[in-house]
């Protein structure tokens, strides 16, 4: 075998180096291209996230406006919606309600009485007891409320609370006479918060009860008006937590 020509070898070496350099350049170009994809993706992701946050802020602002509209009508209940929402979130958390503080759940709490917009002043503010007809009209606020928000997609979960917050565990509530676990869990949670707030605030027909008295009344209704598990969760929350919520809502 003839020994290789050194010039030939050098030339081959040169060709190989050129090819290696070309391959490296190509690889670097591909890497830069991929990095550009990654960077674009990142920017898209960021702006999508920003829009989602904006949307979520608009939802919240809209729901609060609607909730305030309900509140504004009845000066007596003050910040009822705000307080009761925070009580309910607290109870939901204690109970382990999935996504207890998710906006979809909170919206239902805030809007629970939106149907009262359709209840005439003469009934809503009547100082004496309601007649049978008036009571029937009043109790329609649950159905009317659910109707009002029916077509609002982001309030689909909220409408469970709006419609079912006056149902009772023993089936004697309204509007559908649901019993036990037929009642959506957020509505069962809310019912306790709602009654607790009603008992512990002044009303035209009676002064506010103490927290201890209200607790007693709620416990007495466990398994009748209220889901026993929800009452148990409510009992685990200290009065100081509830007191803080009440004070903060008033501030």
């Amino acid at each position: 075998m003839p020994s290789p020509d050194p010039a030939e070898l050098l030339a081959e070496n040169e060709r190989l180096r050129d090819r290696l350099e070309a391959a490296e350049r190509e690889a670097a170009d591909s890497a830069r291209q991929l990095e550009l994809y990654a960077a674009d993706l990142r920017e898209t992701f960021k702006s999508e996230r920003e829009r989602a946050q904006q949307l979520s802020r608009s939802y919240t602002a809209t729901v609060r406006a609607l909730s305030n509209a309900v509140e504004a009508r009845d000066a007596y209940t003050g910040k009822h919606a705000e307080r009761v929402t925070r009580y309910a979130i607290e109870i939901g958390r204690e109970l382990g309600l999935p996504r207890a503080d998710a906006p979809e759940i909170e919206f239902g709490f805030l809007l629970h009485d939106v149907g009262k917009l359709a209840v005439p002043d003469s009934i809503l503010f009547k100082p004496g007891p309601l007649t049978v007809e008036e009571r029937a009209l009043m109790s329609r606020h649950t159905i009317v409320g659910a109707e009002i928000i029916r077509d609002i997609e982001f309030l689909a979960e909220a409408s469970q609370v709006v419609r079912s917050h006056h149902e009772r565990w023993d089936g004697s509530g309204y509007p559908d006479g649901l019993a036990g676990e037929e009642i959506p869990l957020p509505a069962r949670v809310f019912a306790v918060a709602d009654v607790f707030d009603a008992l512990t605030t002044n009303r035209p027909y009676r002064a506010a009860l103490s927290f201890a008295q209200a607790h007693e009344m709620i416990v007495a209704e466990s398994g009748k008006h209220f889901d026993p598990d929800v009452v148990a969760a409510f009992e685990r929350i200290g009065d100081e937590v509830l007191r803080r919520i009440a004070d903060e809502a008033a501030a």
């Binding site: 890497a31 991929l34 990095e35 990654a38 960077a39 993706l41 990142r42 992701f45 960021k46 996230r49 946050q53 802020r57």
Partner: protein, 129 residues
């Protein structure tokens, strides 16, 4: 608050791709390490909140790094996201036992990575009011 995220992979291109993907997204300070020793040294010094950790790195492997992070009180709170090869069920089991929190299979979707970190970096209890 600015938090730190440590990327550990011996492939410089993968590191570059990850840092390019994550830059500015969640206000993370990005740190990079190419092997286990460097990873541990950086982790001790900076106490990153999140560690993206490739299993297959030279020197101390990813699983051992994870174990070491967990056993050191300065780094035990970090969220460890393990980068594993596809079909690495056995590896995942070992990494899980070593204390890894989450897994991402290579090749990973950059969007999955973004979403995963976005979920982790959500500042708790500070919804816009």
């Amino acid at each position: 608050m600015r938090r730190e995220l440590l990327v550990v992979d011996d492939d410089p291109f993968i590191r570059r791709l990850i840092t390019t993907t994550l830059e500015d997204v969640a206000q993370f300070e990005l740190l990079e390490a190419c092997d286990g020793n460097e990873a541990l040294a950086l982790a001790e010094r900076h106490r990153p909140q999140i560690v993206l950790l490739d299993v297959d790195i030279p020197g101390i492997d990813g699983i051992e790094v994870c174990r070491a992070l967990r056993s050191d009180e300065r780094t035990s709170e970090a969220t460890v996201v393990m980068l594993t090869a596809a079909h690495g069920d056995e590896i995942e089991a070992r990494a899980g036992a070593a204390g890894a929190d989450l897994f991402l299979t290579k090749p990973f979707s950059p969007l999955d990575l973004l979403r995963l970190l976005d979920g982790l970096s959500e500042p708790p209890e500070s919804a816009p009011s």
